[in-house]
């Protein structure tokens, strides 16, 4: 099932299913930002996952709250149980909030063990397209 459904779902999660749930309007899905932090809270849940990362960067230390794909979409994009645990250092790829505040919609993640799951964002797909065109 995985090999057949995944390509379809990966494409879909970047478009249809995002639009299917609440307040997607507040996120800018044309952009993708990578944020690394330590997991303080993570719940794989429907309709949207909940994540709190403790982040340290030039702005200082603070907790940032995110939401993201449903458990079901993440599963079909490679997520499995216990891939993310409290205390793990992970990187999430998020569609940022339009109003510029911190947080965003997690479309993909790089786990502490180096496994990446999730969909490529529209921004990443566009970058790949431009790269492919440049290589022609």
């Amino acid at each position: 099932m995985k090999s057949i459904a995944l390509p379809v779902v990966l494409a879909l999660v970047a478009s249809v299913t995002l639009a299917a749930h609440h307040s997607a309007i507040q996120f800018d899905f044309t952009k993708s930002t990578a944020i690394t932090g330590v997991v303080k809270k993570f719940i794989a849940i429907n309709p949207h996952m909940r994540l709190v990362l403790h982040v340290k960067d030039t702005k200082g230390e603070r907790d940032i709250e995110f939401e993201g794909h449903s458990t079901n979409n993440m599963y079909r994009a490679g997520y499995r149980d216990n891939m993310i645990k409290v205390g793990d250092t992970i990187t999430v790829y998020v569609a940022p909030l339009r109003d510029g505040s911190e947080g965003g919609y997690v479309t993909a993640a790089l786990t502490a063990s180096g496994t990446r799951f999730g969909a490529r964002s529209r921004a990443e797909l566009e970058q790949e397209r431009l790269k492919a065109e440049g290589n022609k």
């Binding site: 478009s15 249809v16 639009a19």
Partner: protein, 253 residues
């Protein structure tokens, strides 16, 4: 002993005759395709994934419908809120046209076909033959009430007893009548593709019937996932209760 072969021969002949009669009496049954299985959105080769809320050409809405749909959209567009965000299933015809991009599962029996859409665990039961529920015993709902029949290899499903819905692409009144036609085709790679053609007639909301087509690709040995959706709401409620419980001592002071 002598009679046994003759008796066996008679029984075989009778059985053969009975089988012939049964087959002759139910030719459609023998031809019916089996839609049982898990299905996901099928995209034609080179076609971008379909979807997006509210996309597509304008629909021939009546003035009444325009007013109702316009009022609804004005209400939710600033926030981007959707029924799904509040754990409410799409309802017909949104469920049969994709259900938010999630897969569906079909269980087919001669008298009843069960369609389970993964998103929000939406379930439709299509009754056939003697299982069809009389009109007076049907309750309205977002997915309405569906009855089916076969025309050769095509399953025809009629859905009525819908509630008015302005919160989906194909908004409709409670008088809407939806006819779906399902048949199997082969996809570009030889895979099974289930084609679902939808026609909705609703003079209260549309000046002409509206149509749409959805194609589903079979997922061999596929599994649907559970879709509990209210957990988040429950967790938030518990957090609120905990917060209030934590505030009690200070309130007493």
């Amino acid at each position: 002993m002598e009679h046994r072969p003759r008796a066996a021969s008679s029984v075989l002949a009778a059985a053969s005759l009975l089988a012939s009669v049964l087959l002759a009496a139910t030719p459609a049954l023998a031809q019916q395709p089996d839609f049982t299985g898990v299905w996901t959105t099928y995209n034609e080769p080179g076609q971008a994934p379909a979807g997006g809320r509210g996309g597509g050409p304008p629909l021939p809405l009546t003035d009444v419908a325009k007013q109702k749909v316009g009022a609804y959209r004005a209400l939710v567009e600033p926030t981007g809120d959707t029924p799904g965000g509040y754990c409410l299933g799409t309802g017909m015809p949104g469920s049969m046209l994709g259900s938010g991009g999630y897969p569906m599962e079909i269980h087919q029996r001669p008298e009843q076909i069960m369609i389970v859409y993964e998103a929000h665990n939406e379930v439709r039961r299509v009754y056939l033959g003697n299982r069809i529920v009389p009109d007076a015993d049907r309750l309205p709902g977002r997915n309405g009430h569906s009855s089916g029949r076969w025309e050769g290899n095509t399953l025809i499903v009629e859905t009525t007893h819908l509630v008015e819905q302005v919160d989906q692409r194909y908004a409709h009144s409670d008088k809407a009548r939806i006819v779906e036609r399902y048949h199997l085709e082969k996809g570009a790679k030889g895979e099974d593709v289930l084609v679902a053609e939808m026609t909705m007639a609703d003079p209260a909301f549309y000046t002409a019937p509206v149509t749409a087509v959805k194609k589903w690709a079979r997922v061999p040995n596929g599994h649907l996932l559970p879709y509990e959706c209210a957990e988040e709401t429950w967790m938030k409620h518990l957090e609120e209760l905990e917060k209030k419980a934590g505030e009690k001592p200070s309130t007493r002071r």
